[in-house]
């Protein structure tokens, strides 16, 4: 049940326990217990809403920063990744395969704020070799959910 339950929560974390119980053929109590267990174990780390920033009129800017760093003996990339994730401006940090090492998503109120954060904080960190910053212009889909207008259902209203 765990995987099916997680699939549903990924689509919509606001489904009630009663709805989830209907969908999975379980009781409300079973669902509540399973979710509680996954929260305690840390399988579920949290819940957040997917927001269309344009409609929400938040004027935040968002940038993806590709970071190349020199790994440290014994702890590899962990130490610098942990340092970076402590900044409030940082939305996500991932270790990547390929031509750079860390992918960092940063949010700020203005372009300048983000640029300053990169140049003064990130670049200054020990071990950082280079940064490449790209600003996000428009989001179409996030975590499986459409942000851009969905295509219309072309199937018509009724057919046998």
């Amino acid at each position: 049940m765990m995987n099916e339950l997680l699939d549903l929560l990924r689509q919509n974390a606001r489904l009630t326990n009663a709805q989830l119980a209907d969908m999975l053929g379980k009781t409300e109590e079973e669902i509540a217990a399973e979710i509680h267990l996954m929260e305690v174990k840390g399988v579920i780390r949290g819940y957040s809403a997917i927001i269309d920033d344009e409609l929400a009129k938040s004027n935040e800017v968002e940038a993806i920063i590709e970071l190349r760093v020199t790994p440290k003996r014994d702890c590899g990339f962990d130490e610098i990744a942990r340092t970076i994730m402590m900044y409030d401006e940082v939305e996500s940090v991932s270790l990547m395969s390929g031509s750079y090492d860390l992918s960092i998503c940063v949010k700020g109120r203005t372009l300048k704020e983000v640029a300053l954060f990169v140049s003064q904080r990130l670049s200054a960190l020990e071990g950082v070799v280079s940064t490449a910053t790209s600003f996000v212009l428009k989001r179409y889909k996030e975590k499986g959910i459409f942000i851009a207008e969905e295509e219309q259902d072309e199937r018509g209203l009724i057919c046998p």
Binding site: Q11, Q19, D22, P160
Partner: protein
């Protein structure tokens, strides 16, 4: 011109589909949220589309053999063996048709003489009776009941058999009820038919959409292979409605005759679709499983939701429809649908569009996203609450 004089009497006598009137009504309104369609909401799996694109790029798109690409017929044969342990020889016992619809059409036309009676399990898909009438056959409905989970019982079948009975149309998993026939249920039916000359047209287009147990074909049962015409296709299982591809499997002497109708009316089924269908049968089990899993979540949600609202709903084990009973509202199926559409802008299909025995029910399709279904359920709940006041 007096077209009434010109047009065939038989065609003019044909009843228009019961859905038509309701469809026109819904089409005039804005912002309708529909639960009315009988086709998957999923996109055709990518590898199938990719195969079609490759074929378009590299091959000349010419007619195939009348019965379909040999390679596809072999694939169909292997698929049926793998799924239901059925033995059909790709060379002599399979025709690739334009959707399941054509397979139904040529099967009925190929078997029915004027005056022959054709038993049609109802409620069911809308095309059987009109085709029977076109051949001057006599459609004989066999109503099924909710208390039997809309299965056909041996007793109901026996009561309708006469000397003129030529064919039984057995559409399971069923559109619109979602009912299925288990091996045990089918065994009872087979028992009635063995030793008779009655043939079975088994429309198994929803065979992949079963929940909790594997689909069983009546052709699997002892003595039934020789009296069964099996119809299936790609539309529902692989979300390929627009590709127009299905197939008909039957004993060689039947196929040898039926292929003549297909040859004169159709020539050969769409070539690009045929190539793509090979990919569907051979490499798309995972995609199908994924779709079925998703349908199952929606199915459980709707059954619980309708029962909670007070529209009792038996648990359908197949297809992608639920068939709640609306008698508690005091309305007829059509009144219910029309009022629901007018007041809450939700479109569902009146059960009697699928035969008189569907009266008192409505067909609700769950070939829609959960989000869409939840919105619709909320509106239906409102509708019922206001009806009660």
């Amino acid at each position: 011109m007096n077209y009434e004089k010109i047009l065939s009497q038989r065609v003019q006598n044909m009843k228009p589909s019961g859905i038509r009137k309701f469809f026109d009504l819904a089409a005039q309104m804005d912002d309708v949220i529909s639960l009315g369609v009988g086709e998957p909401d999923f996109q055709t799996p990518w590898s199938i589309r990719k195969t079609a694109i490759n074929v378009l790029e590299r091959k000349r798109i010419v007619y195939t053999a009348n019965s379909g690409l040999m390679e596809l017929r072999k694939s169909i044969s292997a698929y049926l063996k793998r799924k239901n342990n059925l033995e059909y020889d790709g060379e002599h016992e399979i025709i690739v048709t334009v959707g399941g619809s054509e397979a139904i059409d040529i099967a009925i036309r190929g078997l029915v003489n004027p005056g022959d009676e054709v038993l049609i399990v109802e409620p069911s898909f809308v095309c059987y009776a009109p085709i029977v009438e076109m051949t001057s056959g006599v459609p004989v409905p066999i109503p099924t009941k909710e208390e039997n989970k809309f299965k056909l019982t041996a007793q109901e079948l026996r009561e309708k058999i006469t000397e003129k009975t030529k064919l039984l149309i057995l559409p399971f998993p069923n559109n619109p009820t979602g009912g299925i026939m288990t091996r045990e249920d089918l065994e009872e039916i087979a028992e009635v038919l063995r030793g008779t000359d009655i043939m079975v047209l088994s429309d198994e287009i929803y065979s992949e959409m079963t929940y909790g147990r594997k689909h069983c074909s009546i052709a699997e049962l002892e003595g039934m292979h020789e009296r069964t015409l099996l119809v299936n296709g790609f539309s529902k299982a692989f979300a390929m409605t627009g590709w127009r591809l299905g197939y008909l499997c039957a004993p060689e002497p039947v196929i040898r005759q039926l292929v003549k109708i297909h040859q004169y009316a159709i020539m050969s089924s769409p070539t690009v679709s045929q190539y793509a269908a090979i990919e569907a049968l051979e490499n798309c089990d995972e995609e199908v499983q994924h779709m079925v899993k998703e349908y199952n979540v929606r199915r459980r949600y709707l059954v619980e939701a309708f029962n909670r609202i007070g529209l009792t709903c038996f648990e359908p084990e197949g297809a992608f429809y639920v068939f709640p009973c609306i008698r508690s509202t005091g309305l007829t199926s059509e009144e219910f649908c029309e009022q629901l559409l007018a007041k809450e802008k939700v479109a569902v299909v009146p059960g009697n569009a699928f035969g008189e025995s569907g009266e008192g029910f409505v067909r609700v399709s769950y070939a829609y996203s959960l989000k869409h279904l939840m919105e619709a359920v909320e509106r239906i709940e409102n509708f019922i609450r206001e009806l009660k006041q």
